[in-house]
């Protein structure tokens, strides 16, 4: 289980399109937005990988000037069997 909240700063004139794009993302909710383009967003999803991807995607939405994480909580539940892979280390003096 992963729960995150973010503050997204959109260019004020793009507020509605950014909001719409966010609403389309699974597990993502927009809780509120201000006139100055600031938005309170949460992600609630069992997969850590999904959350990480979602945050990157959010920052790339057209009209988003900055996206900042506020809170993140992560707990391994029996239901989340996200396979744990890691970066391979290559030991080779010639590569």
């Amino acid at each position: 289980m992963t729960i995150c909240s973010l503050v997204i700063q959109a260019k004020p004139q793009h507020l509605s399109t950014v909001s719409a794009s966010l609403h389309e993302m699974q597990g993502v909710e927009v809780h509120m937005q201000g006139e100055n383009g600031k938005m309170v967003v949460s992600i609630d999803h069992p997969s850590r990988e999904y959350c990480s991807d979602a945050m990157t995607k959010m920052s790339q939405i057209n009209g988003v000037m900055s996206s900042s994480l506020v809170f993140e909580y992560q707990e391994e539940l029996e239901a989340d069997q996200t396979p744990q892979e890691q970066a391979p280390i290559i030991l080779s003096q010639s590569s």
Binding site: Q9, E72, A87
Partner: protein, 845 residues
């Protein structure tokens, strides 16, 4: 887990974000569900592990593990926000290949440099290390050993290392990886102002009218500061953002004036702006007369390469930095060469864009914050370039006041607090003192209770030179802590790897993970990570921040500090100093370095027993080092270190007492009577101004780092880079980071979802360059430089858009060691390597 707890956590998350955004939520969304007792999460403040911004984070610990983080709402730096990398703070300690025992290369039960790694005890690890170090010291003296530390060391890790090497082994072969990132900035601070570190603070982000980014991609590299800048830009009338770089990156999205310049011509652009200011008589004559000395610096200074290199042979004044006086008219004449036409032609920046930038600086009513990091520091003329930007601000008097701020951003979390302030460099001591000055050495010898002449007056080997000395067999023992130099250093294959594999040398690497450095070493020491020890960092705006130990280090891993102090027990003063020096203080006869350096009545002054470290809610925290050594180690070290600030000849570095920092969200030094300093050198903001210049006028500046209170405006011309694209190697290679990965990825690549998101370093290339070489997006290619080659894939559509003739490759990928390609040319004054300009060719693989 109960549904109610999930709702509780979610509502906590949303409430935190709403508070940070300054928005109010409807009351129903703030409902708190009842919490289980055993789900108790303990929240405590800790600085982020990553960049020099120095955000504060609340870490949530449950059952001995960090499970959650939250941007600290009480932090003046980030005010409740975190960047995407903050998401990984709670995960970087739990990679599956975390090191938990010392590992030594062995064959048939004995140390063998060609052997395989086997688990050994700490005792055995230090046995072999001490044997090798003593042999090297006996044969070559203090220059035979060296330590390479870090701008990510906690303050007392660096301080203990400095004592051990300089006071203990009398060796100045101690340099930090901050040499690779901030040395040029430091050089310019010392030449221009006589003291290190910015005169302004992050508050300038809210006071400035306009921002100029010189070769810094803040949107990805200092995202929280960027979000503050964005806020000002979007809310302040007439605010502008100008961005200069050698390729288009994320920060350009906000730019009102985006400029792509030919590598190295930033030197021309800065001089052009100075020229514009003078031609238009926009300069502040009174400010210049009262507060500035104009100087010029020796030119044709080479590239910090080996002395036999043709470029060094050709240079008339290789490595020289002497300053001499210049009149205003001479200076005006010198910059007059940099006309708009000349500068535009060579930099390839359209004239109207350059002029717009110059007009901005020349406008006396616009408060300007200039911001820069690696583009300007990792530069063969980095010290000069930093100086040229200070020149612009000094000409206009736009300095040391809210909003007018030439701000050198720091990359690492404690390059300031540890490397620079503690002075863990080959030429330095704490508080801006230097080994070459007898009166400075005397201060260190007094505070450290050493016999006269203990401190070595000869400057030691800096980062790049250390690797050359290992290769040449002139330095035989090397200990690397808290960095991954085998991946992050320049010219790996020609200089570094041969040195490490040289049979005459013994290489020890301390790290939490099996990085390329660790695997290339002879001995690996498993190291505790930041939240597994009580620590302190100092960020880019001079803010010192402390944290408590949140969780335990796994297995037998130990902190850098523990390792240094334990290792010091292996040497007696006779072995380290020789009989003659010991005879000067016979009470030290037969003592170990540990006893002299740490059990000296000062470092061991403060008692410790379990329960000593507590927060405001009376939660008790561990402190493994203090428990082990039997006294409050960190407090003793810090309080001794502070004495350099008040008993030394360089004023203005004062920090608060140890206990204060645990209570507050950091303080910006100098801290006087409990009050921090936001703007230095200006009366009314900086208490040292009046202290050192009682006649100063109200609100005026006094640059007390220099004897006459005046700053140096230093003219320097354009000089070409070490390598320029030619017929065979026809592309510029620039290297750097991406948002998701920190440096060499040794931590961030251990987070599975992050590794999967950005697994490979790609080469960002211009579409027509790709087309001309018959390459499509995603094509496999070889990038070849005169020094080596790597294989990767092309990206013509990515976040970084390069101009024709330049490619960009990030350095986080251990399978694509881009630093094999880099030339180890440095700024000859700062000794910092230029990672932004070398030459390559690209062919299909």
């Amino acid at each position: 887990m109960k549904i109610s707890r999930r709702d509780f956590i979610k509502s906590q998350a949303i409430a935190a974000a709403a508070a940070t955004a300054g928005l109010t939520l409807p009351a129903t969304q703030l409902a708190h569900a009842k919490e289980d007792d055993d789900a108790e999460v303990r929240w405590d403040k800790i600085p982020c592990r990553f960049c020099g911004t120095g955000c504060s984070v609340l870490a949530g610990t449950r059952k001995g593990r960090i499970v959650a983080t939250q941007g600290d709402p009480d932090s003046d730096v980030n005010k409740g926000l975190n960047c995407i990398k903050g998401y990984f703070l709670s995960k970087i300690m739990y990679g599956r290949d975390r090191l938990t025992t010392p590992l030594l290369r062995k064959t048939d039960g004995k140390y063998d440099k060609e052997g395989e790694f086997e688990e050994v005890s700490w005792d055995e690890a230090f046995d072999i290390m001490a044997e090798k170090w003593k042999a090297a010291l006996k044969e070559k003296g203090p220059s035979g050993v060296g330590m390479f530390g870090s701008g990510q060391w906690a303050i007392w890790d660096g301080y203990a290392a400095s004592k051990f090497m300089k006071a203990g082994l009398r060796s100045n072969n101690l340099d930090p990886n901050a040499r690779h990132c901030m040395a040029s900035a430091v050089g310019a601070f010392m030449r221009g102002f006589g003291i290190d570190e910015p005169m302004g603070s992050y508050d300038d982000l809210e006071h400035a009218d306009a921002f100029v980014l010189w070769g810094a991609n803040m949107a990805e590299m200092h995202p929280i500061l960027w979000s503050r800048l964005v806020d000002t830009r979007l809310t302040r009338e007439g605010s502008e953002v100008h961005v200069l770089s050698t390729y288009t990156h994320r920060s350009f999205e906000l730019a009102d004036n985006g400029m792509i310049f030919e590598p190295q011509t930033d030197l021309m652009i800065a001089n052009y702006i100075a020229n514009y200011i003078i031609q238009n008589k926009a300069y502040d004559k009174k400010f210049l007369d009262d507060h500035v000395n104009i100087k010029k610096t020796v030119t044709d200074i080479g590239y910090g390469l080996r002395p036999e290199h043709p470029l060094e042979q050709k240079a008339k004044n290789s490595g020289k930095g002497k300053l001499s006086g210049m009149t205003f008219d001479e200076y005006a004449k010198a910059v007059s060469e940099y006309t708009l036409e000349y500068t535009s032609e060579h930099s390839k920046v359209p004239a109207d864009k350059l002029e717009r930038l110059a007009k901005l600086y020349a406008d006396p009513n616009k408060k300007i914050m200039s911001l820069w990091t690696m583009g300007m520091n990792q530069h063969t003329r980095g010290v000069w370039m930093n100086g040229l930007v200070y020149n612009i601000h000094l000409l206009m008097g736009k300095i040391a006041e809210p909003g007018n701020s030439p701000f050198s951003l720091t990359g690492q979390p404690s390059a300031c607090g540890t490397a620079r302030e503690v002075g863990t460099f080959a030429h330095r001591l704490p508080a801006d003192l230097v080994v070459k000055k007898p009166e400075h050495r005397a201060v260190a010898e007094k505070i450290w209770k050493l016999p006269a002449d203990t401190i070595n007056p000869k400057v030691g080997f800096h980062a790049v030179l250390m690797q050359r000395m290992l290769k040449d067999g002139k330095m035989n023992c090397y200990w690397q802590q808290c960095n991954n130099n085998m991946q992050a250093g320049p010219n790996i294959n020609e200089e570094m790897l041969p040195g490490w594999r040289n049979p005459a040398n013994f290489i020890a690497v301390s790290d939490p993970y099996p990085t390329i450095s660790a695997i290339s070493a002879d001995l690996i020491l498993p190291t505790a990570m930041w939240a597994e020890k009580e620590g302190a960092f100092g960020n880019a705006e001079r803010r010192t921040q402390f944290w408590r130990q949140q969780v335990d280090a796994p297995g037998e891993s130990k902190s850098d500090l523990w390792q240094i102090m334990e290792f010091s027990k292996r040497f007696t003063v006779e072995e380290a100093w020789g009989a003659e020096l010991v005879a000067k203080m016979p009470e030290y006869k037969g003592k170990t370095l540990y006893q002299v350096l740490f059990k000296n009545g000062q470092v061991d002054k403060f008692p410790y027993k379990s329960g000593t470290v507590q927060d405001d809610d009376k939660n008790i925290y561990q402190n493994d080092e203090s428990k082990h050594f039997g006294y409050y180690v960190q407090k003793g070290l810090f309080e001794e270190y502070r004495r350099f600030q008040t008993e030394g000849p360089k004023p203005g570095h004062d920090q608060a007492p140890f206990d204060t920092y645990h209570k507050v969200r950091g303080l910006r030094w100098p801290v006087v009577d409990g009050k921090e300093t936001l703007w230095r050198y200006r009366e009314g903001y900086d208490p040292f101004v009046k202290k050192l210049n009682p006649d100063v006028k109200k609100g005026d500046v006094y640059f007390y780092g220099k004897k006459d209170g005046k700053a140096n405006l230093i003219f320097a011309p354009y000089e070409p880079p070490a390598e320029t694209p030619n017929e065979e190697f026809d592309l510029w290679l620039c290297t750097g980071r991406v948002l998701e990965h920190w440096h060499t990825g040794s931590m961030t690549n251990r987070v599975p979802e992050l590794h999967r998101a950005v697994p490979d370093a790609l080469v960002y290339m211009n579409p027509s360059d790709a087309r001309d070489r018959g390459l499509r997006n995603g094509a496999k290619v070889k990038i070849i430089s005169p020094r080596g080659e790597i294989t990767t894939r092309v990206n013509v559509r990515g976040r970084n858009k390069t101009p024709k003739g330049l490619v960009f490759v990030p350095f986080f990928d251990a399978r694509r060691l881009v630093n094999k390609l880099i030339l180890d040319a440095t700024d000859p004054l700062s000794k910092e390597a230029d990672y932004k300009k070398c030459v390559v060719k690209i062919v299909a693989a």
